[in-house]
Symmetry: C2
Subunit: 336 residues, 2 copies
């Protein structure tokens, strides 16, 4: 909470999460945080006011010219919510860095660098250091439910044999894009075809798994990941979709890291329409053993927005470069 | 985990927690962390070897000369476990600072400064800054169960109305000093006399409450605290004590902070012999609402040791001065 005066924020990306971030920011005290602009290249959005799109009292006009807007506004922090692929958002992040702004991004691949993304991440890290800004990727998952909470659960253990996390989400209670992302309504054949091309499933599970390993001080290693369909055993309806019995309702995705000849970290994500008993459960086999559960699970859409906006005052006080949740202070709600 | 090479540690204080810290350190990889000495002024302890007292393979002789021992050994970190009162341990902490060592201490009053301790804390902070070392107070409570976890639970909330924490500990499963601390076996009159002199109850609840408030960005305010006895409704026996029906079994201690005309933070600690359903429960009234529970509760003695030793690599990488858990990275087990 070590920010000198009001934090000036630009929202980059006005999808559902971006708009919800704006609404949440407007509920914070105006003397602490201020939205100074918004960027989106969707022709349905730029040129209109933030107020019109987000339903808040704000006359700022949405810009599609990121570079000039960022240079003109000189925000302290950019809230970046445009995509999951680091390669695809790299140039957007660079624009923010070059404008001298700290960045909090929902880009899943930014939360922790995998080998595949190491080079892109390295370039962003160097640029951020050169421009004296902080770059941080977070959200509910990756960024909280299956990594930060899992590590925090081990914080009082003198010894840890293994950490197992189970997250069960009823995709039917989430937005349509998430339902699509987990394959709800697909046939098994279509699911399999997409899975073979790695085009289905939750982005970020590998990142979470590597983050937990690194947090525990274990040399990073190979993470084995599987994505399987969960098949609807009866017809289920959401407000947007009808899924017939035998169609795909969603995913069961697992990431496991081995070390010392055993499973050290195991992350299991069930995300399907109709999932009953939603939960976030963390089991630490250690001394003392810890069984931590969030009853009913954490609602992902609101929680992603919470993770993003709560990071704003924390990145403001962080050192320059690409940092991960391992470098950040404990997460906490920012001015309740 | 940003330490260059092996961390050299001195254990200052060889009570039950200190000895358990030594045992836990000896289970960590020797190339990462090394016990280089131990200090205690108990005539039953100094002059004997660490190995003899802690049951580990170590020939270092326990010293009662803190100043010269610290200057000779030049440890990276001192694990300090001698007392709860900041005023009483101030000179010990200064010895560590003057020897250029980072300090992780179990002193409850060091975890977060109250108004009463502000001056002592300020002096220690200035000394630590001048000598370029970090001073950090932690443990399971304060330091984890009722503050760090409570804040972490709010980390994905866009809004928090209130945070309520309930910790129920069966004191009968803890060490005798803790049973005595909560008044187990006293008559109601004796309990009341001690409570009036503020000589009974758990040290650190006020600190936890203030830490949660500060973490949420709420200006610190007055914390109202009450300590009431829990009366045994039947005779209960521990391995050390027999408590008759009608005698005190332990405490029900509450700390509450108000703001905006309502209870914002409420911490309830039940610590008595025979407490059933031990638990650590955190309820966030916010968006999203969070109900986080650690089934069976966190076992305090082991967890205090875990909190202390897990902080070692984190303070090594922290900035100079007296810091609190609010400044620290997320807690995590250090080399499982």
């Amino acid at each position: 909470m070590n920010y000198p005066g009001r934090i000036r924020v630009v929202q980059y990306g006005l999808g559902p999460i971006g708009l919800e971030c704006i609404r949440a920011l407007f509920r914070k005290p105006a003397e602490a945080i201020e939205l100074v602009g918004a960027i989106d290249n969707d022709p349905d959005k730029f040129g209109r006011t933030v107020g019109e799109l987000a339903g808040v009292s704000c006359d700022e006009v949405v810009s599609d010219e990121a570079k000039s807007t960022l240079h003109n506004l000189q925000p302290d922090v950019v809230l970046h919510t445009t995509g999951s692929s680091l390669e695809q958002v790299q140039s957007q992040l660079l624009q923010c860095i070059l404008a001298g702004a700290d960045v909090v991004s929902s880009c899943e691949e930014l939360s922790h660098l995998t080998e595949q993304n190491f080079l892109v991440g390295y370039e962003l890290d160097q640029a951020a250091i050169n421009f004296g800004v902080t770059l941080f990727g977070t959200g509910v998952n990756p960024g909280y439910a299956m990594d930060v909470l899992a590590l925090t659960a081990t914080g009082v253990c003198t010894r840890v044999n293994s950490v197992k996390v189970v997250r069960r989400v009823d995709a039917g209670k989430r937005r349509l894009p998430l339902q699509k992302k987990v394959g709800a309504g697909l046939s098994c054949e279509d699911f399999k075809a997409l899975a073979d091309k790695m085009e289905i499933g939750h982005a970020g599970l590998q990142e979470s798994c590597l983050m937990v390993m690194k947090g525990l001080g274990i040399e990073e290693g190979y993470v084995r990941q599987t994505v399987k369909p969960v098949i609807a055993t009866a017809t289920v309806e959401t407000s947007d979709l009808t899924i017939q019995r035998g169609q795909v309702a969603g995913i069961h995705q697992v990431a496991v890291a081995h070390k010392y000849g055993r499973e050290v970290v195991s992350l299991e994500l069930y995300m399907y329409v109709g999932a009953d008993n939603p939960t976030d459960l963390i089991m630490v086999d250690g001394d003392p053993p810890i069984r931590m559960e969030i009853e009913g699970g954490i609602h992902g859409d609101t929680a992603t927005v919470g993770a993003l906006i709560n990071a704003i005052p924390l990145v403001s006080a962080s050192e320059a470069g690409l940092i991960s949740a391992l470098d950040m202070p404990i997460p906490r709600c920012f001015l309740p």
